[in-house]
Symmetry: D2
Subunit: 417 residues, 4 copies
């Protein structure tokens, strides 16, 4: 590629029509730009602010907003492919971006409330507000679900809120909040202090980043996915206006997650598939160039390498088929047993095949490939993080095993939440 053809932020334009084809092209352009910055952000462990500026410019904060609200109206398959492409450029950015879309996307799936519902006004106002903030306000939403010692197990949460004049008072500490300090809003899962039931009353509150009583600790210094600012956020007596109650409804969180886990458990799959795709591309190119010792014959002609490359391909392809299949089922049969099983199958495969393939790629490429001059070592580090986000790998397997034996996994008690 000649110097002049390299994309830069200046080239990014938000398309008017917002077709699927335009989205894919835009994501490829962004990935090419992100690629040039990935090593820096990874090295510093800093948040990729330039990348998110580009996502804003490209209008992608509204990727999941329905078209009638000015968004792209992506379905889950297109969304998964978009994340995959973005992750080939920078997995941290794609991962953090997914957290934003969890909030917007899960809301977009819920149809507008019928006007004869007494709460319809509040519900529709909430939807409209979120969509507008994403599209026009170009605001970022961060998911604040996990807690120290609890992970993302919704039924065990300790953060709680109580009702007050005009809204709620929120207290608690959230862990592993990606985009902490950079997102405009935190979407906080908390229990109603007045609820007696253990499971029913988990709600989501949308908390402005600048809310008094809220602050984050900047402690994210880890193996991989370093450019996500995944930090603890504390909420001490934070006031949340009642309009910021998710869907104007209390106690919906756990119920919804168990029935439709694709956002919380399946959003990541596109991201980690993207790392695998990038690993594959790197591997193929590297081995076509690297020569057998003391010869001009590329490694790509070596029988044992070809055989291993074939194995690599089968594992990548199995992961890809699983991710696309799951996304397709989310689009065609959201919440069905089949879709939910497919989500866990895909999440498991990308989480476990990803780091295995990156490890294989390092072995196949040899010592020179682990230099920070190349992205492969970052793929190896980033890919290992997939299993650490819900649904965790062991939870995926147990979920699928129970499903095979006929358990009712729409009952939260049977799941890992």
């Amino acid at each position: 590629m000649s110097q002049e053809n390299i994309n830069s932020s200046a080239d990014i334009v938000e398309p008017k029509e917002k077709t699927r084809e335009q989205l894919m092209e835009l994501c490829h352009t962004l990935a090419d730009i992100f690629k040039t910055r990935a090593a820096k952000y990874d090295n510093e462990g800093s948040f990729p602010v330039e990348n998110f500026e580009d996502l804003r410019t490209a209008g992608l904060l509204g990727m999941m907003v329905p078209r009638e609200f000015g968004g792209w109206g992506c379905n889950f398959l297109t969304y998964s492919k978009a994340l995959e492409i973005l992750a080939t450029g920078d997995a941290s950015t794609s991962l953090a971006f997914n957290m934003h879309n969890i909030t917007v996307g899960s809301l977009a799936e819920i149809p507008a409330a019928p006007t004869d519902d007494r709460r319809s006004g509040a519900i529709n106002d909430f939807r409209e507000w979120i969509f507008k903030e994403a599209v026009e306000g170009k605001k970022l939403f961060a998911s604040a679900a996990s807690e120290p010692g609890i992970g993302a197990h919704f039924s065990k949460l300790k953060s709680s809120y109580k009702r007050t004049e005009g809204g709620f008072i929120l207290n608690g500490t959230k862990s592993f909040v990606s985009m902490a300090g950079y997102a405009d809003y935190y979407v906080v899962a908390a229990k109603a202090a007045h609820s007696k039931s253990e499971q029913a009353a988990v709600s989501f509150l949308i908390v402005d980043r600048e809310t008094p009583g809220s602050h984050m600790d900047n402690v994210w210094n880890v193996l991989g996915m370093r450019a996500t600012s995944t930090n603890p956020v504390h909420f001490k007596d934070c006031f949340v206006p009642k309009e910021r109650l998710y869907m104007a409804s209390e106690g919906m969180a756990l119920y919804k997650i168990a029935r439709e886990p694709h956002w919380l458990a399946g959003g990541y799959s596109g991201v980690y598939l993207g790392i695998m795709t990038a690993t594959y591309d790197f591997l193929v190119n590297f081995l076509k160039k690297k020569k057998l010792p003391g010869t001009d014959i590329p490694y790509s002609q070596e029988p044992v390498i070809q055989h291993q490359m074939g194995k690599f391909y089968t594992e990548l392809t199995s992961a890809r088929l699983a991710v696309y299949h799951a996304a397709n089922l989310v689009d065609s049969a959201r919440g069905s047993d089949e879709a939910n099983a497919a989500i866990h199958h895909a999440k498991y495969l990308v989480s476990e095949s990803g780091p295995k393939l990156a490890a294989d790629a390092i072995r196949m490429c040899g010592a020179s490939s682990i230099s920070k001059f190349f992205p492969l070592e970052r793929f190896y580090r980033d890919s290992r993080c997939g299993a650490l986000q819900p649904a965790y790998s062991d939870d995926c397997l147990t979920y699928l095993g129970k499903a095979a034996f006929g358990a009712n996994l729409k009952n939260p008690i049977e799941t890992y939440w």
Copy 2:
């Protein structure tokens, strides 16, 4: 199921309309019947003549014959699913049946010759004859490709034919001919004795089982797929009328196989997927019934078992997605690089995951499950045979590795044939 509801051969009727739904239902019915006979044929190592009588009665010898010739006109996806279902009843039957469809199905894909082609008369006559033999004559075709010490490597074949008055004289020995002694015709791959090129001149001749000079050795006594009569067949100075030259064309075999390997390399995938499906069903049912020692709690509630069952499910699902994906691509983009890669991916997965899953199932079910009273031990034996039929597992990986590196695999020299 009550006694009265058990299907028997007497219940089999060839449907008039031949829809996809009818086919699936018919295959399920047949599988239920085959299931009751599988242990006997396996034990004896004898050919399942009753099953093939049922397939004839059901009109399934025309499964791949175009609808305008009275067949079912299956596409490759439906065909793969049909084999899968039949194999849940008896894998040997499904495997042998696939050999018949290789000949009929690959022919059905070739459109009728245009009338301005000078050879069109002969070509169209040949197609019509095969289709009529399958549909009306209810004749079975066996594939005779492999040779001792050569396997299915078409470029190395030693069987040869020479031209004579009104046809050809064929000599050679074929190995691993399934349905030997039971098929009505052998479809023999042989080299033109007059050809100088090593690769170009492999042709297929359709040889009547009763042709003088032809005989089989009944020596099939093996680990698995025992009910297929997969035996050597010898041809000594056999006369083959010129009308029995496949597609009225010499020298097409290798070229076609390299470009469109789905029949020779991919037909098996449905069969072996069927064994995996049956293994899964057995496993689920067995572990729901088997009790933890000294308790009334089924194994299906044991955490370690659930976790392993989840792993089992992911491997089965990956294989299933691969097989259906490959079949879909054969239907939508036959002969494309993508379809051909998918075929090898699927073939590899079913060949290697199948026996692994059967072995896992035995471990999970315990000592009582290996009795010949249950089919699981047969699944374990049958499933190991997948890797031994083309494309062999190592060949699949090398093919995929070369493809990843950009080799031109339509050139037979780059493949394993």
Copy 3:
């Protein structure tokens, strides 16, 4: 090997000195003879009476009897290697033979009682009787521990005995009794009917095969290890003289097994290692002879095959090191945590690597290797049975995991028994 050099039963002589070297040589001789009969017994699923006649002739029923009682006085390492060698000839024979040695060997480890012990007379009489029966009487002892629905979980046994004049009355049904109908005695684990404790009172009674009230069902027709007559044995009001109480002590069984599991859990390891050894030898020889299609180049020179052969070797070697290491520890630190962990490590490896390697060998050797003309397909079947005998593979892993976390596995409640 010329015709004259082939060993036959007529060549077998019991050595006078009974050295380790003589034993190894004798086992090799026997394995060569067993090899010639293995297919027949496997095919029939019949008990290898000729092989046991040879073992008797060779004096090997006293392999574990102390030298002062006329036996070979083998340690556990030598014993494991003897089983390995015998299993290269016929795994069923080696497996059944192990069941005999479980009784004799575990007794041999217990030193003679000091004369000031009030029970020493009875204890020493019992030891002497068993040793004499094995050495002079050439009697075979079968272990009857498992029960239907309970397996070898000693703490859950239902078989029970009560005291009567001069002995005990035994009732119960045992499953998976190898050598049923052929052993001279059954060593039956049963609970004292008068015991209130669940764990303490499991004892072993030595029951003469011809005892009135005892009979076996001949139903063994299974995947592998077919020549072991592993059948149910029923005991209805069987009288057992008090001299036939194992070690003249009640309630020792569970306690001893938990502390020193090498006989019940580790005896099998040599057998299954032997199948792996035989698989390796077959594979090496086969691939050195088999030619690449259409050439004179053996498969052993093919890079992808060499690479896979290397992988095969690493897995076999890991299993071998584990088995020998465990046996060494049994000899040097019997009952130590380290020895007990090593036993489970070895048992797990041979149980799971064995069938995997046999499956790999079939793939590497190709279609011609699964004929019953070769032993490979039997290795594939026999090897899968290892995981089904205690300690089951999952139990091994859980045992080792608990041990890693510091659990006290000498407490039966923490183990799988």
Copy 4:
């Protein structure tokens, strides 16, 4: 551990007697100290100068020097265990330290030349000089074998030397020289420019770090083993006195390496085993402390975790047995086929199991474990480097496969060198 009990460099004393027990204790002490510095050096990617100062103080630069020359006279098993222990503290240090011992240790194995050999004076002088430099001079030797595009394939080297007055003139560039810039001497493999044979004439020259014409590039910035200063070193017309020719003999290198690969291929195994040991210890402790979400029950009591922990243990134990077994064989049968196979088995296992186990540990420990606050993420990175040092994993397998088929691997042409 109370503040006062923490070891520091001030506590290190070189023992007088130099027993095996003292060495193990000393290594444990050093490992404890190294542990406190590991994160810093890893983070900076800087050379652990403090650790090497401690190794000097402890007298460990003479670990492989024969006792009669004032060293510890370690055998290979003790050496491997020492590296393992040191690596539990800091794998980079252990790895770099191994490079020093390759030179000293391989020399120590060669007995003093008999006095009637005409070259014995020069040979014995060389040995004495090296041993004295290590013990009294406390000098560090770095191995400079690999070259860009060639790796450690000795038969393809491009570096060359020619004879000159009083010594040699050396030219060439070496890659992956650990301790570059910190070792006192480089041990450079180079070809005799005057040699016509491709294989015979590779010699080792000992080059003083400060030799004019020599310089290193400081570019080491990689995934793992970051604290080793593994950098390119250039030699331009460097004069090397003839006394610095290894063993006073030209052309021995390749011959020796092929016959006795334990130093170049097997020295690493102890290092990578040490990472595995440290990973295991971390995992056990972490899971005994980490609580199941919302409970006080540690993960160590969770059945699925115990089962996985058991699997982890089996893989670690297999690697450990392989490393110790190989080292034992080096000591008892150096250069034998059995020893050489064992070296490659061990090297393969630690190289491939190590990163797998570290990846498993991360999955089992969860998201909080990947913080740089813990060493686990470093283990994950460091462990992946094992396969990149000779013998590379694929070379190990091919070596073992060829050996299984009976190839003569003492012939360098059959190996990977």
